[in-house]
Amino acid sequence: MDSAIAPYLFYLFSFVVVVSGLLVVTLRDIFHCALFLILCLFSVAGIYVLLGADFIAAVQVLLYVGAIAVLMIFAIMLTAKVSGIGIKQQNEQVPIAIITTVAFVAIALYGLGKTIWNIKTDVAIPDNTTMAIGKLLMTTYVVPFEIVSVVLLAALIGAIVIARRN
């Protein structure tokens, strides 16, 4: 998407992503955290659209917003006793977090300034990414495509085994 409003949309989505991301880790009511996580994931899908990744954006909405977030709300409901308002959600490791963050951000900024990107602007990604991804999944990436099904199967069995009652 290369129109005139694209940069503004990018700023809007980025702002929502960052603010809602911050709210996820700072809010006290875990249910609100989950709702802001959904907003955050939804805005990430918006950025995917700006990047021309329409298929990935759709999968993001279906899988993250539709499945994972709902799964989390289920878990929150099932462990409802602790989701009350006003419980402090942070532990005593805030200093560690600050140190890690400062170090990480410093390294990342340093890297950002020094890196020369391997930019090949002459090759554009196709307009219809769905078809391109489908072709890749059936040719070059057929091995990962088969293997990822085993991930799902193992997770399926595992989740049943561990969550069932005796």
Binding site: I47, A67, M72, T79, N91
Partner: protein, 100 residues
């Protein structure tokens, strides 16, 4: 066209927020949400790189990562539920039978 660096900065910020969340959060489900934020940051960076390189490999990788994230979510939340059944708490501080 928004340059690549901007996307990377956003990805970096989300990743950092997620990392902070994992370290400071008390509730296991919030830790898990923070991990999802980290994965999203990685996905965002991957898609931005993918457009920059004009290669679809990144899209396939993101698709796989999302699938794996769903699988992990299923297993993780079922473990949380099993833990909750055993001890009626989803706070990591109280998961302290062994030294943390």
């Amino acid at each position: 066209m928004v340059p690549l660096e901007y996307y990377l900065v956003v990805a970096g910020i989300i990743f950092t927020i997620g990392m902070i969340g994992v370290i400071v959060a008390r509730n296991i489900i919030i830790i898990f949400m923070s991990i999802e934020l980290m994965l999203n940051a990685a996905n965002l960076a991957m898609i931005a790189f993918s457009r920059n390189l004009g290669s679809m490999g990144g899209h396939v990788m993101v698709f796989m990562i999302m699938t794996v994230a769903a699988a992990e979510a299923a297993v993780g939340l079922s473990i949380i539920i099993a833990l909750f059944r055993n001890r009626d708490s989803a706070n990591i501080d109280e998961v302290n039978l062994m030294k943390w």
